[in-house]
Amino acid sequence: MLFNLAMKNLIGAGMRTWLNVFVTAVSFFMIIFISGMYDGMRSHAKQVTIDTEVAGGAYWHPKYDPLDPFSYEDAHGIPPKEIRDLIKNEKAFSILVSQASIYPNGRMIPVIMKGIESTQSIINLPTQSLMKEADGLIPVLMGSSMANYTKLKVGDTFAIRWLDANRTYDADEGVIVYIMETENFKVDMGTIWIPLARAQTMLDMKNEATYITFAKNISTVQENENWIYRDVNYLMRDMEAMIAADEPNARIMYAILLALAGMGIFNSQILSIFRRRKEIGTLMAIGMTRSRVVGLFTLEGGMNALFALIMTLILGGPVFIYFATYGIPLPIDYTEMGLIMAKRLIPVYTMGLFVSTTLFISFVVLVLSYLPSRRIAKMKPTDALRGKVN
């Protein structure tokens, strides 16, 4: 019964209802749109990291600590047999990490030098470019941000100096064979990539590696000889931490949008109660109990939101689908700011986002419709009939 009355009231109010609904729908659209962008950013960042860096996981030399460059000196060795078999079957590949300095145009820049199997196809880095003949120079691959920073172009040569296994300094000439565009700043800034075999020779670490990255869906090896198994979750943990650190921002954004939507609803509800107080008095005189009148107004507010949601899906749905398919072009390149960001951001609109947004907003809307309506329960019918609100 209340439902029918509420429906009649909303439809009957015509334009006013639809304007309200539209305003609420715009807020819903923004909430879903921005949440989708956030989710898209995060899932993109994760995916890029897995794609260009992590793959299925890794085995680390027991002394390897990526955050402590001084650990690199000792963090190398010949991987255990089972892992070597994986490498042989192209299910894994070695990376040999060391500290080095490069001297482009007379400047000295400390870098992390990574020797990588140039034939690998497990992570998405253009390592084949390292197979290029370089006239005996050390072929170097680097990211575009690093190239920008060092002002190096393909074909430029520069000195590289490193500490070998015998703790003596060596130097040789390197040449840029390829500059890669990558969204993962961790394989770009401060890093140079050279062929694994060359690195092993330079460092005097034949067949040795610092860590082994393996392909997805590879079962763990039994005999790991203290090499540390790092799964994807572990390797992604700074990523997750970054996302978690960003969480409050996302929440604030969400809260602001929700507050905007909520204020609209709250406001229109208060207005509607004020404008319709005589109607409220009449309903009471006709014999509606106060709680039912409260219920009626709350329901109207709730249905308002429901209409808004339907409107959002109908009007906003195609927009969501378009962006989810073609992405949103981003005007700025964020790679240099240490962010993993796509040039075209593909927002992610999951069922979960829709459902959770809907449930949450519905709850908020019901509360926001109920709170002002509660005043009705305090109204005296005689006052309401005279158009007074206490």
Partner: protein
């Protein structure tokens, strides 16, 4: 309470809080109204007509005294109980019609039946009947803003009568209407009173209404100063 009394009021006092003290709007009211009466509360502005009518309708509560309406002691009953009493056995007519603006004539008249959970076939029948009594059959689909004042008040009468209540309370029902419409509306109500034996209590200072009343209760400063029975209301002449 005798079976014939639809309203019984003893020693009623109604005070409103004003400023720090109280304003006594009604005092020493003793009153009995029988089934089928066509009664008016008459008096100057501020004499307490509306206040008394609201108390009889259970919209306001007495400060002191007993008010028994349709067998229910209003002083001791809950909001919900009073709402139920209004819903099932009372009808209200207001000076400014108080129709719901977004509802059609049909929907306005139907409302009390919806509240009383009457099924939709029965509702349709009863609404059509009530609308016919007030002569608005051709306006069923109109919204209040498309109706004249007289038509609005006729709609309100239909809404008040549609669930065949025992008692109708009408506060200045003709105050916003011209003479012709006032007479038309009073005639409708006299008719309903006679055919359905519905009791009517008016609050008014409109001479035109008084001509139709069979009992006039004069109020002054919140007190009943005169209670007169009228044997032959003048309405015959004015018809």
């Amino acid at each position: 309470m005798s079976n014939n009394n639809i309203v019984e009021i003893q020693e009623l006092i109604k005070q409103f809080p004003v400023g720090g003290g109280f304003f006594t709007a009604l005092k020493d009211i003793n009153l009995k109204i029988e089934i089928g009466e066509f009664t008016g509360l008459v008096g100057p502005s501020g004499s307490g007509k509306t206040t008394l009518l609201n108390i009889i309708g259970g919209l306001d509560s007495p400060t002191q005294g007993n008010v028994n309406v349709l067998g229910i002691d209003l002083g001791s009953s809950s909001h919900n109980k009073r709402a139920t009493l209004r819903k099932t056995k009372m009808g209200f007519i207001f000076q400014s019609y108080n129709l719901l603006p977004v509802y059609s004539v049909f929907e306005n008249v139907e409302l009390p039946l919806i509240l009383n959970k009457v099924n939709s076939n029965e509702r349709k029948k009863l609404v059509e009947q009530a609308v016919e009594w007030v002569g608005l059959t051709n306006k069923l689909k109109s919204r209040p803003n498309m109706l004249s004042g007289g038509e609005c008040q006729r709609t309100a009468i239909a809404r008040a009568i549609v669930h065949k209540p025992a008692l109708i309370l009408a506060d200045e029902p003709t105050a916003n209407l011209d003479a012709e419409n006032s007479h038309q509306i009073m005639k409708i109500m006299v008719c309903l009173n006679q055919e359905l034996n519905t009791s009517f209590v008016f609050a008014t200072h409109d001479e035109k209404i008084m001509a139709y009343l069979r009992r006039i209760i004069h109020l002054e400063d919140g007190q009943i100063v005169k209670d007169e029975q009228i044997k032959n209301p003048e309405m015959g002449e004015k018809r």
